[in-house]
């Protein structure tokens, strides 16, 4: 979640980095040039045999121009990427309480399993008789997802959460079209607090997006939602637990209202990790929900993907699921890859979805089991409430003392008059070694700070995190503004100029202009 509500500031002059070094390195913190500055096009780090023939069948289409792409030897390449890696914050190194993103531990067993040749080295189009184990895993994972959600069918192929939303909303559109109502049911209701992907998805499919306000407690305003229900409503898209980290108290009532109006209930499952084993979305009246395997089932976030967003569907939508899906033919499993003879709405992606993520998620589910999954949800909620309770006297909560689910939300009312913004506060956390919480999201809360510790954190780790935030909060209240407004002082970079980056975009490396040419 990135928002630019905050302003950039010039830092204070004095810096902990003021001591200069010849190299620009700071002890173990090494600077690293771009590959284009250290590599050469004639260098390669891979030995390739000579081609067995020089005959070609390329017609007139052989490359004539040079790409000029530099190569590095293997030792040079290893060093380049190891140095880059050391400029990143990571869950493995410290608490990463990025709300709404669920930065929990990524078990290494799951990495190992995904790399078994029988999973990692199989081709999506090899004969199905040679991939029965892979199809069995997909079937077993799908069964688990249905059991955990009490839904009727799974669309396996969506590549990420937003892709899953698109899939679910396509299933809804297909159902509406099958009813002959595509011309009249054109409205999708989306709460103000929703992820940006929700309105973007609905708009992509040609729906008209109408906002539903939140009430004073952080829930969707029930009466406002009901007032918007009518024969034009295709669906409501609701996140539960919602983006404020709260369980929507009126969710069953809202589901009933949208169903009575003839529409469907799309649930954004981004926060399913809070309720796995505690609440089944199917019991709440949900018609479609994507599951972020990279959050709830801990497949690695990988610096921004790859994700995986299978979608569970209710009985009313199951028949419209996209291809492919796995069916059983006697003892054998078979992929249905074509829509002919089905009511499937089509295809979301080439091949069959994020198999590498399916293996990891399945390993996670097997490892946790019925008891571990429920415990994980409970611990996630417990950790978040503990953080909330331990900071409540210093930082302000937009919805009072109400218990949260897996993430604790604060606003910036407590910083009023201090000259310190949410952004400043977040940047000061960096100096203390923490990745900041999610800032300025959800949009309905001013200066939002959304903290999701996840179940992975130990009590000792939480206590240190809380003590750090308390120290920062008291420092802010004492008016020690420089600690915040110039932060970070101790990261690989000070604050970066995002305004300039957008004003004059430099989106790739270009060779430096020779001095003589530049002068002309």
């Amino acid at each position: 979640m990135l928002h630019t509500q905050a302003r950039q500031r010039k830092p204070a002059d004095h810096s902990a980095r003021a001591r200069q070094t010849f190299t620009g390195n700071r002890g173990l913190d090494l600077e690293e040039p771009l590959i284009f500055e250290i590599g050469r096009a004639e260098v390669t780090g891979i030995d390739v045999d000579a081609p067995a023939t020089t005959k070609t069948r390329l017609g007139s289409l052989e490359r004539t121009g040079r790409s000029g792409l530099p190569g590095l030897s293997e030792p040079e390449a290893i060093r380049h990427y190891v140095r880059l890696s050391r400029m990143n914050a990571a869950i493995d190194a410290n608490t990463y309480p990025l709300g709404s993103c669920t930065m929990k531990h990524n078990p290494r067993l799951n990495e190992k399993m995904a790399r078994l040749p029988g999973f990692g080295d199989i081709h999506p189009l090899q004969p199905q008789a040679t991939v029965q184990g892979a199809l069995a895993l997909i079937e077993a994972l799908a069964r688990n997802l249905l059991d955990l959600t009490n839904m009727s069918a799974v669309a396996i192929s969506p590549k990420a959460g937003a892709h899953g939303e698109l899939c679910g909303m396509m299933a809804i559109k297909a159902a509406i079209t099958a009813r002959g109502e595509e011309a009249t049911r054109r409205t999708v209701l989306v709460p103000d607090s929703a992820h940006g992907t929700n309105p973007a998805t609905a708009a992509l499919l040609g729906f008209e997006v109408k906002s539903v306000p939140a009430d004073a407690d952080g829930d969707v305003h029930l009466d406002a939602a009901k007032a918007l229900m009518g024969p034009d409503v295709a669906a409501i898209m609701l996140t539960n637990p919602n983006t404020c980290g709260l369980f929507e108290r009126d969710i069953v009532e809202i589901a009933r209202a949208v169903h009575e109006a003839g529409g469907y209930f799309y649930c954004d499952g981004a926060n399913f990790n809070a309720i796995v084993g505690k609440v089944r979305p199917g019991d709440l009246g949900v018609d479609a929900m994507h599951i972020n395997l990279h959050k709830t089932f801990s497949t690695p976030h990988g610096g921004g993907g790859p994700g995986a967003g299978p979608v569970v569907l209710s009985q009313r939508l199951a028949r419209y699921a996209p291809v492919p899906f796995v069916v059983r033919d006697g003892d054998a499993l078979r992929l249905v890859e074509q829509t002919e003879g089905t009511q499937s709405f089509g295809r979301m992606t080439a091949f069959h979805g994020q198999m590498g993520m399916f293996v990891r998620a399945f390993a996670y589910i097997l490892s946790h089991g019925s008891d571990g999954l429920r415990q994980a949800s409970e611990d996630a909620v417990l950790n978040a409430n503990y953080v909330r309770a331990c900071l409540a006297d210093l930082m302000s909560q937009p919805f009072g003392e109400r218990p949260c689910m897996h993430e604790a939300l604060f606003d910036d009312a407590w910083l009023k008059g201090s000259g310190i913004t949410t952004l400043d506060f977040a940047k000061a956390m960096i100096d203390e070694g923490y990745h900041p919480m999610t800032m300025y999201f959800p949009l309905v809360v001013h200066g939002a700070m959304l903290i999701e510790p996840t179940e992975s954190e130990s009590l000792a780790s939480l206590d240190l995190f809380i003590a750090t935030l308390r120290d920062l909060a008291m420092s802010a209240k004492r008016g020690e503004t420089e600690r915040f407004t110039g932060a970070p002082y101790l990261a690989p970079r000070r604050r970066l100029d995002e305004t300039e980056a957008a004003r004059k975009p430099v989106l790739k490396w270009s060779p430096p202009v020779p001095i003589r040419e530049a002068a002309e």
């Binding site: 590599g39 792409l69 890696s85 999506p124 993907g305 089509g346 590498g356 097997l366 429920r374 989106l507």
Partner: protein, 451 residues
Amino acid sequence: MRYHSLTQEDRADMLARIGVQNIDDLFADVPAGKLLREPLPLSPHKSELEVERILSQMAGRNVAASQVPFFVGCGAYKHHVPAAVDHLIQRSEFLTSYTPYQPEIAQGTLQYLFEFQTQVAALTGMDVANASMYDGSTATAEAVLMAHRITKRRKAVLSGGLHPHYAEVVRTLSQMANDNVASLPPDVRAREDVLAAIDADTSCVVIQTPDVFGNLRDLSRIADACHAKGVLLIAVFTEAISLGLLKSPGAMGADIVVGEGQSIGNALSFGGPYVGLFATRDKYVRQMPGRLCGQTVDAEGRRGFVLTLSTREQHIRREKATSNICTNSGLCCLAFTIHMTLLGETGLERLARVNHANAVLLADTLVNVPGAEVLNETFFNEFTIRVRGDAGEILARMAERGVLCGVRASRLLPGAGLDDLIIIANTEVNTDEDRAAFVEALKSSLQAGAH
């Protein structure tokens, strides 16, 4: 449970600090009767050893590409990935970080994204590339939407050489978004006239090269003709290694280039996760979907990188965004850029030549196989043969003989009268022995079919 860090005593202390009696007090907002109390219908937690046993058993029921002579392609390719790649992408700082929302502590991710964008732009011959998409097929669908935004027209013309899955993804999204698509019939010999399908509402023509049957397509003339009509040319590739040997789509005049990057750095993994590549001209950058990394300076004037032009994106623009996309394919993109850096221009060209040479050798050998005919005049590392008999049966017989020899065209295009076509990929992993095994298996399978 090995992944949980709290003890029962911790939990009790924490509940007391929060001021509630038990954990379900924190779930008090769940509507009456909806909180599960019975056990879930799953087995209890398992040790690492047990999980490894179960998954290894499942994996053992699949035939891995490296176990057999392997010639299956059609959008995903078996290549050798250097050991360094998989080691580096498992560095904690890459594997367990997220989107670089806090650039000061994400310069590692941001710098490799910037390097990746530069590499992709150079390979495709374009001005600018984004920080990757989910895969080649979804990148193609996004390119079509982008062309609609730029031209303010609503119809895409899809070549009959476009990978059928890619075409289906475009058609599905277009149908749902109320846009039009004209799909040309399967074009086995690259003889179609895409220009004839252009009308006043056409925003773009989508052509794949090498196409799904392996033919190379010269886009230059088509690009000129498209531009004369205000139509954008979207060039698609599914085999990124081909860019090392072939004229780049940018050099041939494409306006948007999209493709699958799996071949460089990424495992087959049964179809995903992969990495979509997306490049275009500078003038269209603000209509481009997906994340972009840009160069800037920090408060001390040092070079650094940030995500930029985010006003195109859903988290700022919501329903007015250029796309609903939120993530990219970060780790697959990292694997791509590391492998590409190890190769360099020299290594990539050599690798591409070995791929091409292996395909040429096999095609030449097949001239002497009665009942099999290579249909392509040109190809890179993949071509189509017509066999006497049903391709599916022949493939099954070859699989029984331990050779995974290709994809039957009818699996991708059922009911199109292509039941006797097999699409065959050759890469650097195929040895002389593999090719000999291929030819033997094909000959005996053809004979078995004749009897």
